[in-house]
């Protein structure tokens, strides 16, 4: 059961992606640690960290693609889950500082001493242990998503209304985390980290390790997303996306399906946040900003909805552009991002990956039918696979097009 579940995740496209990721995960740290600085192949530490940050963004985009691309839940609040995962990791890192803080308090983080707090709030207990913090990285976003989803999906809040309440959710958290008496460092957030799992957080080796961990987390989550979306459950998700009420009349409890992917996705976002924080060295309430969540949606749209690989590509490309723009033309960035979104919506509605694989399918289609037309043998035995479509079992008949446009339709 489990093996066939995982087996489903694999095909040529996943293979290419995994090979690329393996190369990145190995070569970047090698280029940083083993290649001498004088060599043109040396990767400077700041670049390792920057790319590590991109990888965590890619994981966040993957999480959004899972719910938006496959199930039609347009979340404009995923940065909240990301930030919560980040805070859980930040709390662990704060407690690792110990007496090395400015005030040298063995138990209380600096900001608590500054606020004249006498003891550690109960919700900071346990975060001195990595395993506990790691668990919270999954559980806190997961639980919040579960409770939120439970109410939202059961009350059948959908479409733009759901998007708006996800914005409200992240905005509410933003305001809450700004308050000093919440006990999360208020405006300044959590920072001045010293080490993680006993390793100096500034060391090149740690940076490389964090980079590799981010890459690995991305690969694992990618495989999970693939297995999920290519299972029968994945087909139900797409059915919900395209014709939600029709799916209900087939006997599927749509709210359970939504709750499942929504919670899974939130946990992935939490992991992304947890890997992000030690690399950028700070987590503050700004991460909850509603605009952040919207940006993630743009990454996914640029890369291609419901393609998984596209979400990763979109996140990396847009953030690369952002890094370049904010250095070269800082005033232009927001306009460029807005323009990009408009361009993609108008001219590349399927995003980069979606458009490319459509083109590829069409090309193979033509080649197959021309081969067939020349009478060069048996009818083609393999119908080309459509990009977003889950793994398919039917015995392929004569070559048929699967590239046709499918539009979501309301069930009557």
């Amino acid at each position: 059961m489990m093996s066939s579940f995982l087996f489903r995740a694999m095909d040529a496209r996943a293979g290419i992606f995994l090979a690329l990721m393996a190369a990145v995960i190995i070569l970047v740290p090698v280029g940083n640690l083993l290649v001498p600085e004088t060599s043109p192949f040396h990767v400077p530490t700041y670049a390792v960290t920057l790319m590590g940050k991109y990888l965590t963004y890619a994981l966040l985009a993957l999480a959004v693609d899972l719910v938006w691309g496959y199930c039609g839940i347009l979340s404009l609040g995923h940065a909240a889950f990301f930030a919560l995962g980040g805070y859980a990791m930040g709390m662990y890192l704060m407690r690792q500082i110990g007496t090395r803080g400015v005030y040298g308090d063995p138990l209380l983080p600096d900001f608590m001493v500054f606020l004249n707090w006498q003891e550690l709030p109960w919700y900071w207990y346990g975060f001195d242990m990595f395993w506990f913090a790691a668990l919270m990285v999954l559980l806190v976003p997961g639980l919040l998503a579960f409770v939120f989803g439970w109410f939202a999906f059961r009350s059948r809040v959908t479409g733009v209304y759901l998007s708006i309440i996800t914005q409200a959710l992240t905005y509410a958290l933003l305001l809450a985390f700004f308050r000093n008496d919440m006990g999360f460092g208020g405006n300044n957030g959590l920072t001045d980290f010293k080490d993680i799992l006993g390793f100096d957080i500034q060391a090149d080796t740690t940076r490389a390790g964090l980079f590799a961990a981010s890459g690995l987390a991305l690969v694992v989550c990618f495989l999970i997303c693939r297995s999920v979306t290519r299972s029968k459950l994945g087909k139900v998700l797409v059915a919900v996306r395209d014709a939600e009420s029709r799916t209900r009349f087939l006997g599927y409890r749509v709210e359970h399906y939504k709750l499942f992917v929504w919670t899974l996705s939130a946990m992935m976002a939490g992991v992304a946040g947890a890997l992000y924080v030690p690399q950028v060295g700070i987590i503050n309430p700004g991460e909850f900003a509603p605009a952040n969540s919207i940006e993630v949606v743009i990454w996914v749209a640029v890369g291609g909805r419901a393609t998984l690989v596209g979400a990763v590509l979109g996140a990396v490309l847009v953030n690369f552009a952002k890094t370049w723009f904010t250095a070269a033309l800082p005033d232009i960035w927001l306009f460029a991002l807005g323009g990009l979104f408009v361009f993609v919506t108008l001219f590349l509605p399927k995003g980069i990956v979606g458009t490319l694989s459509d083109g590829w399918t069409a090309l193979r289609q033509r080649r197959i039918s021309s081969d067939f037309g020349e009478g060069s043998g048996d009818p083609p035995s393999q119908a080309p696979q459509s990009p977003g479509a889950p793994a398919n079992v039917p015995p392929p008949g004569p070559a048929v097009s699967r590239a046709g446009a499918a539009h979501p339709q309301p069930a009557e």
């Binding site: 066939s4 029968k232 087909k235 014709a243 087939l250 006997g251 097009s401």
Partner: protein, 248 residues
């Protein structure tokens, strides 16, 4: 006819939309194994009746029972589908970005929970069942075609196939012949008659030739309640029916 021995039992069902009575004290009984045709002018409440039976719309008053004992007004769409009531919509609704095969696989009777579907591996029996259905609805060679690329008539048939895949006790079929050619309409009637051999079926249709060829008891709805009931010839002879419907 009493509730206890009925398959579907509606008594005094009323539904109002903003004061407009779409169903007005509607009472109707379907026997186990029966096939019933429902006719009526546009806006008579036929689709609304199906909405009430399948849990999409809650009646303002009245009783709706399935198999004599199950109160459908307190169940939701998924539960009602699981009880064994399948529905084909007036506007064909299939999953457009899925293949024909996947549409059938999704409809196939199987555990509906997320964890069952997550780990589901299609069995040989399921494949055979889907292949048989494909043959029945004449879409075998379209098996891996996206449903979006089907013609209107083919979508109607696919939806009927999905209905059968669910293996329901009662099929509610809303205007199966709409938008079909005469030949397709005749084939659809044959298909439904075939299905009716081992299922209970309620068919809503405007096409009188179609209804005639089904040769079953007909219920005429008008302004949300039953106007007449009986054989097609019997109701056609009813003056009020002629007035509201046939005589237009």
């Amino acid at each position: 006819m009493t509730r206890a021995t009925s398959l579907l039992y509606l008594d005094g069902v009323s539904v109002a939309f903003d004061g407009f009575k779409a169903l007005n004290d509607l009472s109707l009984t379907i026997d186990p194994g029966e096939m019933r045709a429902i006719i009526g002018p546009n806006g008579a409440g036929k689709t609304t009746m199906m909405d009430v039976i399948t849990g999409k719309t809650r009646p303002d008053s009245g009783e709706v029972y399935f198999s004599g004992a199950i109160d459908l007004t307190s169940e939701d769409e998924a539960a009602i589908a699981e009880l064994g009531i399948g529905r084909k919509f007036q506007k064909p609704t299939v999953f457009e970005s899925h293949t024909v095969w996947d549409n059938l696989e999704l409809a196939l009777k199987a555990p509906r929970g997320p964890f069952s579907t997550l780990f589901h591996v299609i069995t040989g029996a399921e494949k055979t069942r889907i292949e048989n259905l494909l043959e029945l609805i004449r879409l075998t060679d379209k098996s891996s075609e996206l449903a979006a690329n089907l013609s209107h008539g083919q979508k109607q048939w696919l939806e009927i196939g999905m209905l059968l895949a669910q293996d329901p006790k009662l099929l509610l079929v809303d205007e199966p012949a709409a938008g079909m050619t005469d030949a397709e309409t005749a084939e659809t009637a044959d298909l439904l008659k075939d299905i009716a051999k081992d299922h209970s079926v309620v068919v809503v249709e405007h096409d009188m030739d179609f209804v005639r060829s089904l040769d079953v008891k007909v219920t005429v709805l008008h302004e949300g309640s039953v106007l007449a009931e009986g054989s097609l010839d019997h109701v056609s002879a009813d003056e009020r029916v002629v007035e509201v419907y046939l005589g237009r």
